[in-house]
């Protein structure tokens, strides 16, 4: 083999990665641009009355002019989501593990969890406002409640999807319980856990929004309600856009974490790590 061969190979690989990245960007932006065109047309041809749907340009103008206020409220909502989501992870994953590890918990606690899942948690919002006031905490708790179940269920599936042969193998190597947990159960469970986390991340945003609707003095949905009562649809749409960007951002962060933590599931990461160590 000649010395330039690996260098050429990695240059080719970088080129193909760039091409894939470009295609990905186009795949995401082109439909968004298309949507903008349709939106513009809807307003221009008065398909929907203009007091309901503002011009895209007007929304953009609000986002530029009011960026500081919007940013302030985005940060409030974000912190509610992050706090709720982190709490949901801290509670959900251990509970998922406990349910799988102790069969009496599966028989006693799991039905309770499913039953609780059936309660519309939005309805608990007013109670939380009573208990914790108008700050970040009640919204975070609502986000926690909404995001908790998919995370716990995903973790339970992840930890349970192991068959007895693997445990026997670990025992034959005289692995401790902790080693078995760290080297077998956690990595084996990660794909299913991340499945739950992705659902949980977007639900946490919903939880925070609902929390702000019930009673808040800050946050994107609080701003949205105020704009609505002022018939300021441009600001309202700006809030909507920011909320959906927020949801995408959290989903994307979880997906990024997944591609780092679960590289054996991701064909791209696999190719790159294989090259790195070859």
């Amino acid at each position: 083999m000649s010395g330039s061969d690996p260098a050429r190979k990695s240059a080719l690989a970088a080129q193909s990665l760039l091409r894939r990245l470009l295609r990905r960007v186009l795949e995401v932006t082109l439909p968004a641009v298309g949507l903008l065109v349709i939106w513009q047309a809807i307003v221009a041809f008065q398909v929907l009355p203009s007091f309901l749907v503002p011009w895209p340009g007007a929304v953009l103008a609000v986002m530029v002019a009011q960026w500081d206020i919007l940013l302030e409220h985005t940060i409030v909502t974000s912190s509610e989501v992050v706090l709720g989501f982190v709490l949901a992870i801290a509670v959900g994953i251990p509970i998922g593990w406990l349910i799988v590890s102790f069969s009496f918990l599966e028989r006693t606690v799991y039905p309770l969890m499913v039953g609780f899942q059936a309660v519309p948690k939005v309805a608990l919002g007013p109670l939380f406002v009573l208990a914790f006031g108008y700050g970040v905490l009640p919204k975070a708790l609502l986000a926690l409640l909404v995001a908790f179940f998919p995370i716990a269920a995903g973790s339970a599936v992840g930890f349970a999807s192991l068959d007895a042969g693997w445990f026997l193998l670990m025992r034959s190597m005289r692995a401790s319980r902790l080693q078995t947990f760290r080297k077998l159960q956690v990595p084996a469970g990660l794909p299913a856990i991340f499945g739950g986390l992705k659902v949980g991340a977007t639900l946490a945003v919903v939880g925070a929004v609902v929390g702000e609707f019930i009673g808040a003095d800050a946050g994107l949905s609080y701003l949205l309600l105020i704009a609505n009562s002022n018939r300021d649809t441009a600001t309202e749409f700006a809030c909507l856009i920011l909320l959906s960007l927020l949801g995408m951002l959290f989903y994307g962060l979880v997906a990024l974490a997944e591609s780092i933590a679960v590289p054996w599931r991701n064909p791209d990461a696999m190719r790159w790590s294989a090259q790195g160590t070859a």
């Binding site: 042969g165 693997w166 026997l168 193998l169 670990m170 025992r171 034959s172 190597m173 005289r174 692995a175 080693q179 080297k183 077998l184 990595p187 084996a188 990660l190 679960v262 590289p263 054996w264 696999m270 294989a274 160590t277 070859a278």
Partner: protein, 264 residues
């Protein structure tokens, strides 16, 4: 024969074993009294589901018998035997580890020196024809190669006792023949005490110093046949002698009425 070769390494003393199930107790092993010598390759041959695997797990200290006792190296087993590895029918590789990472698992669990373990692992990859696949993922390998990785993982700590539970049972016939030859090579290069569960007569004869024949459940040892074929036997043992052993074993199973399990 040396002294080591005539001392018993595994002793089964009056072993009975029963599983509890909803239908009551299921007797797996009836009455097993037998010794396996140090550095001996012994196959446990019998119909599927007869209790051979149970005996294998008992021999490694991974289970305890309902009655009787297992001695390994002269001592009664109360926990998994330290100087032991096991290879199962399924490779049980961790998909999230590279092939090298899988082979290094026992060293990590023992807290062994990683660099030395990695050197030994690479040597095992070379010996089993897996060179160049160290940094690939298990899913990139064929079934036979995956099972080789599992074999390397078992051999990494250089255990004295190697337990194999139908290790080639899931492989195609050609791969299987190659694995049999490779296993004999590994065994000749570095002698171990091997217990090899199989229901393949030819495989048992090709690999073993001794073949123990088991009845249907609850399993008893119905015959104890020393295989005196010159090693290495490879693909091409003394055909007449080889065939005589196969015929002898076949006749025992015919008399027991368990022959329908044999496919070759």
């Amino acid at each position: 024969m040396t002294d080591a070769a005539s001392t018993p390494f595994i002793e089964w003393r009056g072993i009975r074993h029963a599983y509890r199930s909803r239908q009551g107790e299921i007797a797996a092993l009836a009455q097993i009294d037998q010794r396996v010598l140090t550095n001996e390759f012994v196959s446990l041959l019998g119909p599927s589901g007869c209790g051979k695997t149970t005996l294998l797990l008992l021999s490694g200290g991974l289970m305890r018998p309902t009655a009787g006792s297992v001695l390994a190296n002269g001592r009664s087993l109360n926990e998994p035997y330290a100087d032991m590895s096991i290879v199962f029918q399924r490779d049980l590789l961790f998909e999230w580890r590279s092939n090298l990472g899988n082979v290094l698992l026992p060293a990590e669990i023992r807290g062994a020196d990683r660099r030395r373990a990695a050197d030994r692992a690479r040597e095992l990859f070379r010996q089993t024809g897996l060179e160049g696949f160290e940094d690939k993922w298990p899913r990139e390998l064929s079934g036979g190669m995956r099972q080789r990785v599992a074999l390397c993982r078992a051999l990494l700590p250089d255990p004295h006792l190697l337990l194999m539970d139908e290790p080639f049972g899931a492989l195609d016939a050609l791969t299987r023949r190659q694995m049999v030859v490779d296993l004999e090579q590994l065994f000749l290069r570095r002698r171990k005490t091997v217990l090899f569960v199989t229901h393949d007569v030819a495989e048992a004869v090709l690999l073993s110093d001794r073949v123990l024949l088991f009845s249907n459940r609850p399993a008893r040892i119905v015959a104890n046949i020393a295989i005196n074929l010159v090693r290495p036997r490879g693909f091409d043992p003394d055909q007449a002698a080889f065939q005589a052993y196969v015929t002898e074993i076949t006749r025992v199973f015919e008399e027991l009425g368990v022959l329908q399990q044999q496919r070759r």
